[in-house]
Amino acid sequence: MVEREVVDGSVREWRSAARTRAGTPRGGAGARARLRLGVGAGLLGVLVLAAIVVPWLWPASEQLFDYTQVRRPPSGEHVFGTDQAGRDLFVRTLAGLRVSLLVAVICAVGTITLGTVVGAVAGFLGGWPDRLLMRLLDTVNAVPHLLLGIVIVALYRGSLTAVIVSIVVTHWTTVARIVRAEVLSLRRRPFVDAAISGGATRGHILRRHILPAVAGQAALSAVLVLPHAVWHETALSFLGLGLPPHLASIGNILSDARSELLLGGWWNVAFPSVLLVLTTLATAGIAATLRDRLVPRRRSELAL
């Protein structure tokens, strides 16, 4: 690879220093990461758009019991088929996805808010507040998450709030741990010392130095929580403890589909499951790319 340039009438030849060496990333790594992000974002975008638009275009058919159309396999009329009550599964699944996604987003926001506050306070204050909060965190982690979720949901049957609370309560600990570790490494840095010396209060340092520095990690863990929240909600609804049966969610639909599978109604399980897996894969792809970008690396490739 030689590049020629002409300076003052004379030709200069520049050779590329590129060579394959152990430990250097291959040329395609950046392109692959961009492709992964693009595919993930595109797929998630299509799913979200479909979940919003489709139930809105056919609002009635989601709940409509049409006993002339019971248990139809996929066809041109009903692309995902129909269930035991004759409801169109295409519309119903997407409506379910909408509910699941909405729950997941609210849970992710709640999780990072609670986790960041607890983690930042524990890490920054240290001492007894840190010990107290960390023991609380260990206590929550000691109980199996699904069991804790089931207990909360069982106390308030059929409540959307209870489902959200149960997910937030079981998932904030991960975020809190990540944020606390970040804060612990930040709070003794010389730039924090410099801020203290400049007269900054604790709140000022927390707001201007610590929180912006952990925001990236917290946002990443929120994206990581998204698929977890979808699965958690699905699991609760599948067990019949989640959302009320009239509110279609992926979990409810799969729960109903259990009995249909024995009657040969594979489409009752297949399509909602595929949508669930696709949603998870898309968010996981985005999260993986974001994580790679957050890993501290040299800003430039220079070795000056």
Partner: protein, 211 residues
């Protein structure tokens, strides 16, 4: 006068790094502290900057005893003492422009800029174009210039320079030391910590050598 008596300082458990140290910084005077790496001179600098709590001993600032360290020191006492650290790259917020770095103490203590920022940035030789850049876009020497300006922006009565010049080249060293000497001539008490004897000989009024 910024003074410390009978300091015993250490980290976690184990033997103290400093055991029974007395030191006095007088306004307008520069005290040089020389010694090899890991002899405890940076530890002393951190205590005098009120950034590290000693195990025992007392620190007195202009006749007032210092009752707390780090956040527990009153802001008026903390801002009376400026600090410059060894590694400028670790001592600045990586996401801010140099201008924001220099102004940070004014913002934190809610004081107005009465022209001091322009005066100091000119004295350390930072142009407007350099001030608009972020830390990863400037050299260690240029960053340390901003750090010295930041340490002086609240017009502290005392200045602690902990290995201020060990990461920068000779020309920047000369410029930074010249500015510190000029603020010392205006009445600031300076503690200059360095492992470079020749530098302290040329810089400080008195040089104390450890171990």
């Amino acid at each position: 006068m910024l003074s410390a008596k009978d300091l015993v300082v250490g980290y976690r458990r184990g033997r103290p790094v400093l055991d029974g140290v007395d030191v006095e910084l007088h306004p307008g005077a520069t005290l040089g502290l020389a010694g090899p790496s890991a002899c405890g001179k940076s530890t002393l600098a951190a205590v005098l900057a009120l950034l590290l709590e000693p195990w025992s001993g007392s620190v007195t600032l202009d006749g007032q005893p210092v009752r707390g360290f780090r956040h527990r020191a009153p802001a008026t006492q903390r801002t009376a003492i400026g600090v410059v650290f060894q590694q400028p790259r670790l001592a600045v917020e990586p996401r801010w422009t140099l201008d924001a770095v220099v102004r940070a103490p004014l913002v934190a203590s809610r004081r107005r800029d009465d022209g001091i920022v322009a005066e100091l940035t000119e004295a350390v030789g930072l142009t407007r174009e350099l001030l608009a850049r972020r830390p990863h876009e400037v050299s260690d020497g240029q960053l340390q210039r901003a750090c010295l300006a930041r340490a002086l922006v609240l017009r502290p009565r005392y200045l602690i320079c902990d290995e201020m010049t060990s990461m920068v080249d000779a020309s920047t060293t000369a410029l930074l030391v010249r500015l510190v000497r000029s603020v010392a001539a205006e009445g600031t008490g300076v503690l200059a910590v360095s492992h470079d004897d020749a530098l302290l000989e040329a810089w400080a009024d008195d040089v104390v050598r450890w171990r």
